[in-house]
């Protein structure tokens, strides 16, 4: 036995060496190793989500969790989802998230590009000073400003309103900066030609500048949508009316009361996560391109 094993290894080593002497085979082996490493990482990325789904479809998970984690419910049922939907006005939360995200993103796109156009192509006194002032925003984290912002909202009687969730975010230093960089690359001749034809600056902005800004606007859409949809600290400060909760904030507040019912809690988070994931499957190319363009994340 031992000798035959020795013979086979003795044959294997030169055989392997021979196989590896081909440059193409070395590359193939390299690809296989990298693929395996990437696949292990990918499983680690997916596993918590899959486990969440499996548990959310298990009614018994509320009473006792299996000691060995399962990735398929032993007693498939939609019970937890029914409870989650009757417990919380999740449709309302979603609607609120949509209103807040769409409104603030539209504002962010419009004002960032309009101001960005002025800084890229306009000629006016104080332009560079104003631009530098605007750039200081990038150095001041939101958390440092949040207390006076909260007090301001109280004084303006805007707490517990959509306006509180939208207004502070409809323009920003980062968006303006990105749009200015992008618009600067548009040739002046294009804009001058329109001016000679008597077009107003606003017409030039809507007819010439905006149509050329597709990739930058797409990137800003992604960022603004992710920021607003996932924000929790600002709603925590300015929203106490349950009918104004966003889905992210509603999930955060619910997790405090539902914690003991594992199945229901995970069904609630699945409801909050899954529609975004499905959207991501279709939009991932644009989202990833947008992040790579700006270097910023949600």
């Amino acid at each position: 036995m031992a000798s035959s094993e020795n013979i086979s290894t003795a044959h294997l080593v030169p055989a392997l060496r021979g196989w590896l002497s081909s440059q193409r085979n070395v590359r193939r082996l390299q690809q296989i190793i990298i693929f395996i490493i990437m696949a292990i990482g990918a499983v680690a990325m997916i596993a918590p989500f899959e486990w969440m789904l499996a548990t959310s479809f298990s009614r018994s998970a509320n009473v006792a969790m299996p000691r060995i984690p399962t990735f398929w419910p032993s007693d498939p049922s939609t019970f937890n989802y029914k409870v989650a939907i009757t417990n919380l006005p999740l449709v309302r939360y979603y609607l609120n998230s949509l209103i807040v995200t769409v409104m603030s993103t539209l504002g962010y796109l419009f004002f960032s590009s309009l101001t960005g156009y002025a800084f890229a192509k306009g000629r006016f006194v104080g332009k560079s000073v104003l631009f530098i002032i605007l750039l200081t925003t990038l150095m001041i984290p939101f958390e440092i400003r949040m207390i006076p912002m909260y007090l301001l909202m109280q004084r303006l009687h805007l707490s517990d309103s959509y306006a509180a969730l939208i207004l502070p975010f409809i323009s920003g230093g980062f968006g303006t900066f990105l749009m200015r960089q992008y618009i600067s690359a548009i040739p002046d001749e294009l804009i001058d030609a329109a001016r000679v034809d008597g077009a107003s600056e606003f017409t030039i902005y809507t007819r010439i500048v905006l149509p050329l800004c597709g990739p930058a606007l797409a990137a800003l859409t992604v960022l603004s949508a992710l920021w607003r949809w996932n924000d929790v600290i600002w709603p925590l400060l300015v929203i106490s009316d349950r009918s104004l909760y966003t889905i992210t904030f509603g999930l955060a507040m619910a997790s405090r009361s539902q914690g003991i019912f594992t199945g229901v809690a995970l069904a609630t988070s699945a409801i909050a996560i899954l529609p975004i994931m499905i959207l991501y499957v279709f939009l991932q190319r644009y989202i990833i391109r947008g992040i790579m363009l700006t270097g910023l994340k949600g």
Partner: protein, 301 residues
């Protein structure tokens, strides 16, 4: 003259909305945070008290612990995520099978809200039946780690659990930024290295990594700011006090607790100013150390 003024007027109209919002939500609140930190509310009236709140903070064990904790969690996170994501991005950059599929999968936690991810992880790290300990038990590990119930500085405690969470969430994003940097490395540099007879590892160490300097600066600066203002995930897992035993409390959580649970807006503002100064100093240090290295390597060459 009037015509010229009218012509530039339109530009002021274009920048006005952004600057009105800037004044209301950036300039005024920043100034107000500084102002509030020097005042004290005495019977509905604000009274100037000088540096009183700063003295109170520097003698406050809870605040100092939160500050230290934020820095500790941030440093450990960056020390793990930067090398890990660089290696993973370099590997993925050489993979010809499904590279975009993997990119999309690794990025998945980034589009999911921090709140939802933290909620799922509070169950993933459950000591008796959570996903992590369930797998560890199958592998024969005993005794099983306590994770989020263990406040001490150990490799299986609450700080380790939230660091694993943060790395899991951020990996795809850091890889993406590194990949963008890798694609910007000029191909001639690689060609020159091959001509000089450098192996793949040598090329990576001597050509790729030094060429990624702008990416490192960007990630260290944004990573530091993000880490210093960490809030949502730890608030979800440990409440504003960073339970257990304040092991998860960060400086922003302390700020939130002081302002909205103790109703001390002035003290909270002072802690906000300290956060601002720390962020500023760290950003400058990051800038300087990277720039210095750039100068020394240039003069050395």
């Amino acid at each position: 003259m009037l015509r010229k003024l009218r012509k530039s007027l339109i530009w002021y109209v274009f920048v006005a909305p952004t600057f009105i919002l800037y004044a209301l939500f950036v300039a005024y609140p920043t100034f107000e945070t500084f102002r509030l930190s020097f005042f004290q509310e005495v019977a509905t009236r604000q009274e100037f008290v000088g540096a009183l709140h700063y003295i109170r903070l520097l003698g406050n064990q809870v605040f100092l612990a939160a500050l230290l904790n934020t820095a500790f969690l941030g440093i450990v996170f960056l020390l793990i995520i930067v090398p890990l994501s660089l290696v993973m991005a370099s590997l993925l950059n050489n993979l010809h099978v499904w590279p975009n599929f993997f990119k999309a999968i690794y990025f998945l936690p980034q589009i999911t809200s921090t709140v939802a991810v933290a909620l799922v992880f509070s169950y993933v790290f459950q000591p008796n039946w959570g996903l992590v300990n369930g797998i560890l038990r199958e592998l024969g590990v005993a005794p099983l780690p306590l994770w989020l119930a263990e406040p001490r500085y150990v490799l299986t405690g609450s700080r380790a659990a939230v660091t694993i969470l943060a790395v899991w969430v951020a990996l795809g994003y850091y890889m993406l930024i590194f990949q963008a940097g890798l694609q910007a490395v000029p191909a001639e540099l690689y060609d020159a290295a091959v001509v000089d007879g450098a192996g793949p590892l040598q090329t990576w160490w001597l050509i790729t990594i030094p060429s990624l300097r702008p990416t490192f600066i960007f990630l260290f600066i944004t990573g530091t700011i993000d880490a210093m203002s960490r809030f949502s995930d730890l608030w979800m897992l440990g409440g504003p006090a960073g339970t257990p035993a304040r092991s998860l409390q960060t400086i922003v959580m302390y700020m939130y607790q002081t302002a909205f649970e103790s109703n001390d807006f002035n003290l909270a503002s002072a802690s906000g100013v300290i956060l601002f100064i720390v962020v500023l100093i760290l950003t400058l240090i990051n800038f300087r150390s990277f720039l210095q290295r750039e100068f020394s390597s240039q003069s050395g060459a």
